[in-house]
Symmetry: C3
């Protein structure tokens, strides 16, 4: 994952343009993406697809002709979606187009102006303060023209047409945690899921520009939307902080309960946030007209770490072990949803005789039965067709794996039946 | 308010009689009261209106002819509703009609015997102990005869016929916090509400004797009762303690949630009590046959401060700044209820494009959006026609004013619709 | 109770056999039991009644002919349901049939093998370690043959055919807390209930072998099962620990609320456990096909005290005062259920005039009304036909007795009506 991020880092992504296309091309080495191109001007709900933005070069030269600000050093130096300009101007005029961050005087901030025509440069505050009264040559060699919005989609079919949605934004330039970490975890998650032999659910991975990308996808896929049972937005998954799960708008959807359960059981510190309509594309998936069961898995949430949206969110900020941990937990959450069946106890009047079936062994009388025997009793007692195995795991405080194994053992002895109709919807 | 209380303080109020009439006449200088006179014997539910009680003078003279207890010094010296008496008697006989409070030996307690014919005097415990074996002349020049129960009512119409009830008891003699403070806050609250230009609700202010007054009003106004949407009993609002809100029997009615929200947001200490069928006239408004959404706003609750129902509940016990704070919070609660609309997001599929409408400004990328932008997203996400702005304010932890302003901005851009039918009932 | 336990202690009980018969015969001196004999092989749900086990003698002799392990010293020395054996064998062979407990090297553990043919001896770990390499004569003079499962039942009729079930297991040999304590408390509880003159409920006491006993009873009494409104399993009631109530599967059934209320009000430490499908016969009563409102009253729960299922659970471990306290609390719980009526306020519009009826007395104005007056108001306010007196006691934080007395007073003045149809089912 780290190597993939390193390769993607230099590209100048934005909500449209060649940076996204190059990014998706690299991802196609790992998973077979379906790349969509949606023309500028396409109406998507209240929005329309914007013009396509591309940039070749940008700089500011002082009167000695030195490039004192240079896009070639960092694509963060240019405000995203800057309109083209090539003019000399005094510092006084130039200054109103300069952005810096006094709280972190060494870092270059990341700024955009997607839906309001403007241009600008971002610099460290130290550089900002050192700028002399001079006449500067300001050049942004960009284009903002009718074109396309590009996004990638990967659909991995399962036994059921019910879907799990995994969505990641791919519109940030040279920023690592936000969100090349999400891109890398999503790609590797897809690679793992490919190899699961008996997927109950179908999985759909989106690599989309933030906001306009999810709006475009939702506007064009209302039929698929009805099949989404669970979903995760992946973002900020490589920083040193603990894992954070932000609940869906529904707050206790199965994805919410599965994610919280996995984080609880991990033994590591974690945080759970209530839904808020601020953040990433869960804003759109959880808009009231859709209200999809889509949560967001992060480490430190956006805006809560100082490196957020600055040049300090670079390769040094990432922890390979954090990426791996994020991937593992995302896999655990999905696996739990795959295995979270609802069973019906076929022998509900008193306990069945487990000893006769070899499910109890040895002499009896000890203080506490072993965990796997307790799990058998919990599953039998809880399986009335309305409680899921996760419900039972939560109440029994036994591990989900132990509960699942008990259910398998009981099922193989004909003591549990499935209710396939209730399975996936829980 | 303090000046009004000072003027009302000397009057000898009771549940009937001229003290109440004089009190209401003074209040009419501030608000145009409708004064009702209900004849003795009128049946009101399980009760009947009692005889009218008036008192001109009362005293106890020792054998030297000195007035050692004198109604002219304090009307608390006479047990409320004492029947007339004029007789000499030895201390032994007299003593069983004397009430004092050993815990506060300098204070004269307040006692009544409204529904059981009796007479008595209240004295400080020090005086009680100093009484010598003597023959005393005991005189109470009172009358208890068929007459009227008097109460005042002020109706302030609004756009809707749905009503907010504000009820205050006016039956206590020279006691300040209980309840001249409530009377003064209620009168000034009415004066302020007069000046609100676009009142949604109609407001009804009651100045009534405790218990029998609310029972009488409820018995005679069952048609109005059906229109009551919110209500507050006002009592004990001038002492130095923090504000206390006692919930209605319904516990989470809009008045309960609005009051608790205003106290929470105030930043000052406060207390919230669950409903109990002990206290003031909320006992009747919240009797199970009515179960009205009427809470009680107080500072220190009745019976929880030592000065309660004693001569120490006098002008010195009141804090003008406490009266003002109580008035402000009552106004805030009512204003919140006035503004607590339920909206419907008219663009519920994804977010609408706020930037295009000038609701977002400038370049973007900063860590946290300003509060008013966050409020726009919260209102859009929450407005499904079932959540009120107060619901949204509580969940977002944003100030109700900020939420309300966001709703106004969204409504003026055609992004929110109202559901007038659901407004007032929440 | 202690004397009864002392008499029962030496008997070698098991899930079938003469030990149970002798035990029930002793109990019949206290209460008239109906003794049932269910033949071996009878099908009861998923189970069938096992063969009857009886034992006359058992020992292990060393090569000198000394009885080094002797059933006559303690019936715990033989694994319950051991098949007959009479053979010489070397230590190596013998050892796999020996059970001891290294954590408590002086105590003999209690072990069984009810549903798997086997034999064995239990010894202290110290004795286990001291066994020399020798040839031992191993003898168990037992029989495992078609016979009967024996249990006792006592039905105490009340005004209603709705039943309270009290169930106790009688299958443990010389163990005191588990469960001669439960047997003794149950017997004395029955003796007390006999003397209650106006029992609303009928009471049914079961003295049954664990698991197979309750399964057998449930299989044969489905008609009675439908009439069970409340139930308690009694076990481990004589140890020095605090009382523990384990909730029924329904979690907030009236029995659960009554038990928790009684423990709370006792002022003594106590513990409340959520339901789990591990424990005593509540496992069967609360299996999902029955889901009866049956909780379990214990002191220290099974498996949570070191003496559990060892020779240290003997007469010295019991505390007579703990037995008495357990009995009292069980009686309190049942009495509360008997008295927990649901009333309807017949005068729901405002308060009725209590003073006129002599329910209020004396002059008024004091800070706090006496408890019994507060209780009158709470009962009137809460009695809408859906809240029980226990609901009202919980909300008012007044004692249930005070609430009940207030209800009686109000009922005798015609202010409360009963809803006999809702009484018992709550």
């Amino acid at each position: 994952m780290f190597a993939l991020i390193r390769e993607l880092f230099p590209l100048c992504r934005s909500i449209t343009g060649d940076g996204v296309r190059q990014t998706l091309r690299i991802l196609e080495r790992f998973i077979p993406l379906n790349v969509h191109e949606v023309p500028t001007g396409t109406q998507v709900f209240d929005w329309s697809v914007p013009k396509e933005w591309n940039i070749r070069d940008a700089y500011v030269k002082n009167s000695q002709g030195e490039r004192i600000i240079d896009f070639r050093n960092s694509n963060l130096h240019v405000v995203g979606y800057s309109t083209p300009i090539n003019r000399r101007m005094p510092l006084a005029e130039f200054r109103s187009h300069l952005f810096s961050s006094p709280e972190h005087p060494d870092w270059v901030p990341y700024r955009t102006s997607f839906y309001q025509d403007n241009w600008g440069f971002c610099v460290s505050h130290n550089q900002f303060l050192s700028l002399k009264d001079d006449v500067y040559e300001v050049c942004i060699d960009s284009s903002l023209e009718p074109g396309f919005l590009t996004y990638g989609e990967y659909h991995l079919p399962g036994k059921s047409s019910e879907e799990v949605l995994i969505s990641t934004h791919v519109c940030h330039p040279s920023l690592c945690n936000d969100n090349l970490s999400g891109v890398a975890v999503s790609v590797f998650l897809a690679s793992h899921l490919c190899r699961w032999p008996h997927r109950r659910f179908s999985y759909r991975f989106l690599f989309i520009p933030s906001t306009i990308g999810s709006i475009t996808w939702l506007a064009h896929n209302e039929g698929i939307v009805r099949r989404i049972r669970h979903g995760l937005v992946l973002a900020c998954l490589g920083d040193p902080g603990c894992l954070t799960y932000k609940r869906s708008r529904r707050s206790t959807a199965p994805i919410d309960r599965a994610a919280v359960y996995v984080l609880q059981q991990s033994g590591a510190p974690y945080e759970v946030l209530d839904f808020s309509p601020l953040g990433y594309d869960e804003r759109q998936f959880c808009s009231p007209g859709f209200d999809l069961p889509v949560g967001c898995l992060m480490r430190t949430p956006n805006g809560r770490y100082p490196e957020y949206h600055t040049s300090a969110d670079n390769l040094n900020f990432l922890r390979p072990e954090a990426l791996l941990d994020s991937l593992e937990k995302a896999l655990n959450i999905l696996q739990l949803l795959e295995e979270n069946d609802v069973f019906v106890n076929l022998n509900p009047m008193c306990e069945p005789q487990l000893g006769r079936r070899g499910l109890y062994q040895g002499t009896r009388g000890q203080s506490n039965p072993p965990e796997h025997e307790a799990a058998l009793l919990w599953v039998l007692n809880g399986s009335t067709g309305s409680e899921s195995l996760l419900d039972i795991a939560e109440r029994s405080r036994l591990d989900f794996r132990v509960i699942r194994q008990a259910a398998d053992a009981l099922q193989s002895h004909g003591l549990l039946g499935t209710r396939t109709d209730t399975r996936a919807s829980r």
